[in-house]
Amino acid sequence: MSDNKENASNGESCCACSLDPERRALLAATAGVGAIVGLGVAAPFVGSFLPSERAKAAGAPVEYDLSKLAPGQMDTIEWQGKPVWIVRRTPEMVAALKKNDANLVDPNSERSEQPEYAKGTARAIKDEYFVCLGVCTHLGCSPNPKFLLGAESGMGEDWNGGFLCPCHGSRFDLAGRVFKSMPAPVNLVIPPHSYLSDTRLLIGKDSKES
């Protein structure tokens, strides 16, 4: 066991300084070229980790027929592999949004992600239809709807309806705005969307792009 220790300690010859200085330059050059080749070889391996062309191409816009949605109801569809919610908000639901403002992190959605046309309190093109990416801004779980009001919802007396993330308990209101002191830092993301007609919604595309 201990013999190898002794070998290591009395071996002076392993020091490179005793080498011929001219050869040293050659050694350094060889090592340098080797390193560059090594980097080149690493490139495809690192690159292969990036999303493939196929993954990038996925994600065409999706159409949704609003006529099947009753007031106060919510539906979930898939866009780019992620859940998108469509909530048909009742006028009471829309009116209640203002009441949450004082308890929100970003009530006017200035630091959050949404298209220009979905800013403000209701965060929608039409107040009645709330379209939202159902992906928590904390760590990406999909929050659950909690549409009952007050104590009945199990969310406390002053609950005005919204969403609860099952993973770490972030709470959002019915415009996807996050409450204070929650793990999620900002409001839920609103995807680009537009209306093809009064009842046909297109998710994944702005009207101006078409």
Binding site: A55, H138, G140, C167, H168, A184
Partner: protein, 499 residues
């Protein structure tokens, strides 16, 4: 009689033939039959060999599972993801014995963590991480990290609801890293969501990349161990007293003595292991989680998601790190800095750090606001001006989400610092005083409470208790240089005490 003698002679010759070409007898002697380990090993010293056993179980059952498993997230004709079906239907129902192979592997994963946690706890009891065993401990830390990675990658493979959402949450942790976070998590997933690409690369990591690293680390762990020799429950070096032949007086050869002891431990372990596999393979929902019997659904998170039990203490700390917890965390950092400052009178560099670290932490936690409770100073002085560089708002510091991630990773890594944090003049708990013993008890209790709340859905009480326990956990490590020095220790015997 004669023929027996011929056979043994032949065997001797064969061995000599090998020894001339490969140091077989030499290796056997130096690592087994003439490797001297302390004679006072106790219960706690069983877990090293048990960890080796579980490693073998995992590798063997893993090889057989791969023969039927398919890492494919696309849907089969019945509309079920292929990966999920290959586990829940092919392996669990169609393959002869497949069910038991799978249960051995899934129970083995939990057993691995039980064994390794106890193995590490032994190190903490007897000061096994201290000089000259720092590298054994650091290789052990590497093993522990690989084990966590291995468990995480493996958990995605059955492609159930828990697999999917667990991976979603953990990969998204990386998106909290400032500036590069978004790209980093895409880079890990290989897609914009957890998908087939993610499943395939996790498969590659789980079946080959990490196991290879793990084997290398375990080998290094044992080489380092055999270089310095084992510690023991008394924490005294047996190499200090040797006989005329250079053999430690308090050592006995590993073979046969310790081997027999380890075989006894293995028997008991296997009885318990088999009982779990036959009678409680799901471990009451702790070894195999209920929600994982549903195929992955990217549109719906199950109402209650929690990691497998062995990650829950760290998961609790992640959840506990909210913005209203940061002021307490900062106070803790400030306290450690003040203590270090007082202790480092002569060293400018350390004193500089003692100022810099709390300042940097303050900015990182709260930006230019007063403990995150007010709006940033800049919003008062220069309203409307934005100080955002590369997506980081300089006036607000970094998100609590990022600090949660740092907390989770950092609290695991704290173990690696133990060799340098422990300043006690004695190694073993047997000769330590009340202070260190109390600290260890508090640490264990805090760790268990954190583990418990990590399995529960978020609740206000759970959150407060997790925050308190997080501080206790950090204090165990952070304050160790001071309490381990103040501690009143007992005199250490010269030789092993052994009844």
């Amino acid at each position: 009689m004669n023929c027996c003698k011929t056979v043994t002679d032949k065997a001797q010759q064969a061995l000599a033939w090998v020894d001339e070409r490969f140091p077989l007898s030499f290796l056997w002697k130096s690592h087994v039959s003439e490797y001297y380990a302390p004679k006072n090993f106790n219960f706690w010293y069983l877990f090293g060999s048990l960890a080796l056993l579980v490693l073998v179980i995992q590798i063997v059952t893993g090889i057989f599972l791969v023969m039927n498993y398919k890492p494919d997230a696309s849907l089969n004709l019945a509309g079920v993801p292929v990966a999920f079906a290959s586990v829940e239907s092919t392996i669990m129902r169609d393959v002869w014995g497949g069910k038991y192979i799978r249960y051995m592997h899934s129970t083995g994963a939990s057993a691995f963590f039980i064994v390794v946690y106890l193995h590490m706890f032994r190190g903490m009891l007897y000061g096994s991480y201290r000089k000259p065993r720092e590298l054994i401990w650091l290789f052990g830390m590497g093993i522990f990290l690989c084990l966590m990675g291995e468990a995480f990658f493996g958990y995605l493979l059955p492609w159930g609801q828990m697999s999917f959402w667990g991976a979603q949450v953990i990969v998204n942790l990386f998106s909290a890293v400032p500036v590069i976070g978004g790209q980093l998590s895409e880079f890990i997933r290989g897609d914009f969501v957890v998908s087939d690409a993610t499943l395939n690369r996790f498969f590659a990591f789980h079946v080959i990349a990490i196991p290879l690293v793990l084997l290398g680390l375990v080998t290094s762990h044992l080489i380092a161990l055999h270089e310095v020799g084992s510690n023991n429950p008394d924490g005294v070096e047996i190499k200090k007293h040797k006989d005329a032949n250079g053999i430690p007086l308090d050592g006995i050869p590993f073979y046969p003595y310790h081997v027999i002891k380890d075989v006894f431990g293995v028997s008991i372990f296997l009885i318990v292991f088999a009982a779990v596999i036959f009678f409680a393979p799901e471990g009451g929902g702790y070894f195999l989680e209920f929600n994982n019997f549903f195929p992955a659904d990217a549109l719906k998170t199950p109402p209650h998601i929690a990691p497998v039990w062995y990650f829950t203490p760290y998961y609790s700390m992640l959840r506990a790190t909210t913005s209203d917890f940061l002021p307490f965390l900062w106070a803790f950092i400030a306290l450690i800095s003040v203590l270090t400052w007082r202790g480092a009178a002569s060293c400018r560099f350390v004193r500089g750090l003692c100022v810099l670290v709390p300042l940097a932490a303050y900015w990182g936690f709260f930006g230019l606001s007063a403990f995150g409770l007010t709006v940033p100073l800049t919003a008062l002085l220069l309203p409307g001006v934005k100080f955002t560089v590369l997506g980081v708002d300089l006036a607000r510091g970094l998100d609590a989400k990022f600090w949660g991630v740092v907390m989770m990773g950092g609290s695991v890594m704290l173990f690696a610092l133990l060799p340098w944090l422990d300043r006690s003049p004695v190694k073993s708990i047997r000769y330590k005083g009340v202070l260190v013993k109390t600290a260890l008890v508090i640490f264990v209790v805090a760790f268990l409470i954190l583990g418990y709340f990590g399995t529960q859905p978020p609740s206000p009480v759970g959150n407060i208790l997790s925050q308190i326990c997080t501080i206790l956990y950090l204090s165990f490590f952070g304050l160790m240089p001071w309490y381990s020095r103040l501690d009143k220790t007992k005199p250490v015997p010269e030789r092993l005490t052994w009844k």
